[in-house]
């Protein structure tokens, strides 16, 4: 079996183990951990679009909202019918939740395709603005659909999100993005990022690569949305506005564009940071913004942008003589 697949399966098993002991963990830490996992999914999937493929998308929260609403709709509307009044067994709930997440992800991917095909002709800031615009349009549309609760949003979503689901999907996201980019096919993403004109000249269909990146990114954003909905138990359209999109973009840029380990670290840091600063509630956001500016001035290539392979090789060299 290939190594990445083993790593994926091992992580899933590990999260299952941790999850079965989750009632021994302090609920507050559990909440923070869940938030971290969801943000890791969002940041890593956006990194495929913004980092590896070099397209600047500002609409990730919009795709997240599509996934959140779809999956919440499924568990709220179909759940009672399929599982009966009693709520079904844990396995049945799990299967329903998995189906809801996948459908949410597919819905978001479809939205990504619909947004991507017309807008990926645009470049740079124009693309950023159009994706932002689509995100806002999706939000306003949800606000006006009464069946989905309108501006009040959906309430009473069943509490299905566990550490197992969040971290399994986080592992799956990392697995998919890393393997996709490292595959022969996936080199095209990086080529599109490096030089679009040159890639076209050697026969790569750059538009196709951009759309694939967009759709895959949107799928995982949708899954993250589903997890978020079943974690917060209530979703409102304003929770997915463009400040949320910007929050995810900040994680990607701070981690270093196209650098998956860095982006994961940044997602963890930026989720925990507001919690750490909670004791000084008043100054929290001021400090957060100041840190953002200072970090960008001090480490312009991303906070966690190290050459991981080189560091590992150096460590290996240091350790080896000690062994022999």
């Amino acid at each position: 079996m290939p190594k990445p697949l083993i790593a994926l399966l091992a992580t899933v098993l590990l999260t299952f183990g941790v999850s079965s002991y989750s009632d021994r963990i302090d609920p507050y830490y559990l909440d923070v951990m869940t938030g971290v996992g969801i943000n890791v999914i969002l940041a890593v999937s956006l990194n495929l679009v913004n980092g590896y493929t070099g397209q600047f998308s500002l609409g990730h929260a919009g795709f997240m909202s599509v996934g959140a609403y779809l999956s919440a709709g499924i568990t709220l509307l179909l759940g009672p019918r399929l599982l009966g009044e009693a709520g079904g067994t844990a396995l049945q709930q799990g299967l329903l939740f998995l189906a809801a997440l996948v459908v949410g992800g597919l819905g978001a991917a479809a939205a990504g395709l619909a947004v991507g095909i017309p807008s990926l002709r645009l470049k740079g800031d124009y693309l950023a603005l159009v994706t932002l615009g689509f995100g806002e349009i999706i939000r306003v549309a949800f606000q006006n659909i009464d069946a989905l609760g309108g501006a009040l949003g959906l309430n009473g979503i069943p509490n299905y999100t566990t550490i197992f689901w969040v971290y399994s999907f986080a592992a799956l996201t990392v697995f998919t993005v890393v393997c996709l980019v490292r595959s022969t096919y996936g080199r095209g993403f990086i080529a599109t990022h490096d030089d679009e004109v040159a890639s076209e000249a050697v026969g790569l269909n750059t538009t196709r690569y951009k759309i694939v990146a967009f759709v895959v990114g949107a799928f995982f954003a949708g899954v993250a949305g589903g997890l978020y909905g079943h974690f917060k138990l209530t979703i409102t359209p304003t929770g997915f506005d463009f400040t949320k999109s910007i929050e995810i973009v900040v994680m990607v840029i701070l981690g270093g564009m196209g650098n998956t380990p860095g982006v994961i670290f940044a997602a963890i840091l930026l989720t925990i940071l507001p919690e750490v600063l909670r004791s000084m509630e008043q100054y929290r956001m001021v400090l957060y913004s100041l840190l953002l500016i200072v970090l960008m001035l001090a480490r312009p290539k991303g906070l966690f942008n190290f050459d991981y392979v080189a560091i590992a090789a150096r460590l290996w060299k240091k350790l080896r003589p000690a062994r022999s």
Binding site: Y126, L129, V250, I253, Y288, S289, P300
Partner: protein, 296 residues
Amino acid sequence: MSEFLQQLINGLSLGAIYALIALGYTMVYGVLRFINFAHSDVFMVGAFIGYFVGRHLPEGTVWAGLIAMAAAMAGCAILGIGIERLVYRPLRSGPTLNVLITAIGMSLFLEYTGQLVFGATPRAFPSIFPAKLIQVRGLIVSMNQVIVIVVAALLMVGLQFAVFKTKIGTAMRAVALNPKAAQLVGINIDVVISFTFGIGSALAGAGGVLYALNYPSIDPLMGLVPGLKAFVAAVLGGVGNIPGATLGALILGMVETFVDGSRWSTYKDAIAFATLIGILLFRPAGLLGRFTAEKV
């Protein structure tokens, strides 16, 4: 018919305010090629300066209004130049995305510092200009709307003069065209960029006061929505293009006002973006922008 004209005037005054903000976005983009996210918060600071100065002045006189606006413009110009000098200049040689994130950081900083200093609760903006309703053949025009349109028009004519007839304006256009070549012919690029930020922020400050006159409730997060709309307007007209920003802002103001008056009013916020996407699909560089092929 008279309702149509009424909406036209409302749209014109909203568009004029958008135009004042959009000009700052477009000028900075023209020179530095990045979206200055903090611009919408400079706009907010302008409204607050107008509020604090306006409180100490007698209400309802033209000169009091003008003093408040001049103070807001001066204050915002200093703020804009300061932000550029301290935060954006060290990053100028770096990738644009970093400047973008720094701009987002600056925007958050201004918003939340504003909440600390001014408090998060909205404040009522004093009516510094004389408030009167003028009735012309069934049309009701408030004095504020007239002031907004006149002041915005004057400022835009002034800007046009500054950019096309003065030496520094010529230098600004040269930097927008090609920063390296501009430096080679002896233009001090730092001065030009400071000037651009100063003018753009002053216009935003004036926009802040005018906006607060029409929607007299100000809070530290008030810049978010008009700022986003103004940026949409700048892109609509072709970002980097000064007449384009004005045109885009007027179109956006009109479209929004007419949608607001129709039964689709709850979709008002989406319409701005739908217009933008519709136009960009047919003209990818905006209405007045020129599409240039990438050279290798």
